[in-house]
Symmetry: C2
Subunit: 309 residues, 2 copies
């Protein structure tokens, strides 16, 4: 990771010293994991697929009846303010990006002194909104995964909601680390492949692109959506709506993980068994490059001057 020390965060309307303290112990994010988050990549100061991230964030707020107290446009402006202050994601004299940034938006239900699980009424408390940014340099690493002992419930109303209640995911990553792996895969209660702790999972079977369906208790990542939309242009046949079993992964030609910040990462091993050749496959590498090119193009397009009427 190229993450370095940051100097400021954006908190509830203003830039503040990243060192804190910032929030009270009574904040329901700290007390109960009663919050939501999003992570995104920025290049040249342009947040990639920002609308999709904000849409998921606001959907999560609705599911939890959480009063974010800000419009999406205000949140977008806040990110711009932070990136500018942190000098992240500008453009050098030759037009090349100075460096990418990883961004995290964290929204908790807010500071509530009253104890207990039940939140106050919607109007009575306004969310704590924090935005952090780190320098990020795209890497070309590979990932090995284990299968977590934690299972995901496709019937959960929060299955697709990115809450800050991540203890299950932290535990899964501890399991992975213990086995010398970088990621953990979850199965559903039915034993189907679901997702990784911080990424969606894809399998390549010849030129077929397969991924667990939304009904497999996944968080629908923006890179997943992009891949399914662009698969045919990239010479692949997308076959989304198929339940995948663990053996499908072991029998795949190639496999990879997708995440907003890390992009497309080859998955070369699961539970110490190789996937395909056990090394990053050629199709995965091509997809990774295509995604990075697209990110670059999108960031440049967003910076073009508005055309005259």
């Amino acid at each position: 990771m190229s993450d370095q020390r940051v100097h400021a965060i954006w908190l509830n309307g203003a830039l503040v010293d990243a060192r804190g303290p910032h929030i009270s112990v009574t904040d329901r994010g700290f007390q109960l994991g009663d919050g939501l988050f999003e992570t995104a990549r920025a290049r040249r100061g342009v947040v990639i697929e920002l609308d999709e991230h904000l849409e998921r964030l606001y959907s999560g707020c609705a599911a939890l009846k959480l009063n974010i107290g800000m419009l999406p446009d205000q949140l977008a402006e806040a990110i711009d303010e932070l990136l500018a202050a942190e000098q992240l994601g500008g453009t050098g004299r030759d037009g090349s990006p100075i460096g990418d940034a990883a961004i995290r938006i964290t929204v908790s239900r807010g500071d509530v002194e009253r104890r207990g699980l039940l939140p106050p009424d919607f109007e009575e408390v306004v969310a704590t909104v924090a935005i952090q940014a780190w320098p990020y340099a795209p890497t070309t690493g590979e990932a090995r995964a284990i299968t977590s002992s934690i299972r995901r419930d496709p019937a959960s109303p929060l299955a697709g909601v990115k809450t800050t209640s991540r203890a299950d995911y932290v535990y899964a990553r501890l399991e992975a680390a213990r086995a010398g792996a970088e990621e953990a895969l979850f199965l559903t209660m039915d034993g189907n492949l679901s997702e990784a702790s911080a990424a969606n999972l894809f399998i390549l079977r010849s030129d077929q692109l397969l991924t667990p369906p939304i009904s497999a208790a996944i968080l629908v990542g923006t890179t997943r959506t992009w891949l399914l939309a662009h698969a045919e242009r990239l010479g692949l046949v997308p076959m989304e709506e198929e339940d995948l079993r663990p053996e499908d992964l072991l029998e795949a030609d190639e496999a990879f993980l997708t995440a907003s910040v890390a992009g497309i990462v080859p998955l070369v091993e699961v539970d110490r068994r190789p996937i395909g050749t056990g090394r990053a496959g050629p199709r995965t590498r091509a997809l990774r490059a295509a995604r990075e090119d697209w990110i670059d193009a999108m960031s440049m397009a967003a910076l073009l001057p508005e055309p005259p009427d």
Copy 2:
């Protein structure tokens, strides 16, 4: 609830203003719900079943590989310090308790600037430890419950760990509130009764005392343990190790919930259908009184001077 404004909390070694701010946005409790908590009742400044609470807390720390950085005795002293400062739980001139207190210990993995799910190595970060206390007056209320759409997984390694990742429980309480109920019951994946969002569940079938087994993805509450140990003395036959189905609840003579702070609370309705007569049953009321008497006796016993050798 009789909870009132508190004035101080104990945080990482010292009493501080309850108003905050106290912690950084980078605290993993806020970022990821990467923490644990306990709630307990104090009477006369004596924390009831403190050893059991601390044992569960330290077990949870071990499960999450979380470095609490304090000995149980130090934590007990910290609670005493807070209760004294808040003038909670003293004894009046006639020996009667001034008032009970509800206590919450919250332990997060601590402040970690690096982003990502994987925690630093055990030695590299020390937990954030916060203790809060509120005045508490025992009530004689009843509870109505709904069945949550969230299910619990008996196979989860965190099923018995009281993490601060409570979004599922918050969601369940929102479901309950929407239906005009005070509590939410969880079923396991297998459709068995598990527990309530903040309480264990008991059923009375004549003089038989039944409760979901530990294998039903429950948090083993101290009041549950106490009841099973004291059932025979209280004229009941404890029958713990039986899976219970939702229909067992509807066909029960009486039902109740148990929690450390609220004690024994009659459960009179589930999904708008009455349990037993639909009112607090006589056995439940007797058990509640017995538990409150025991709490009173334990608090007095703890304050007796040490016997001379």
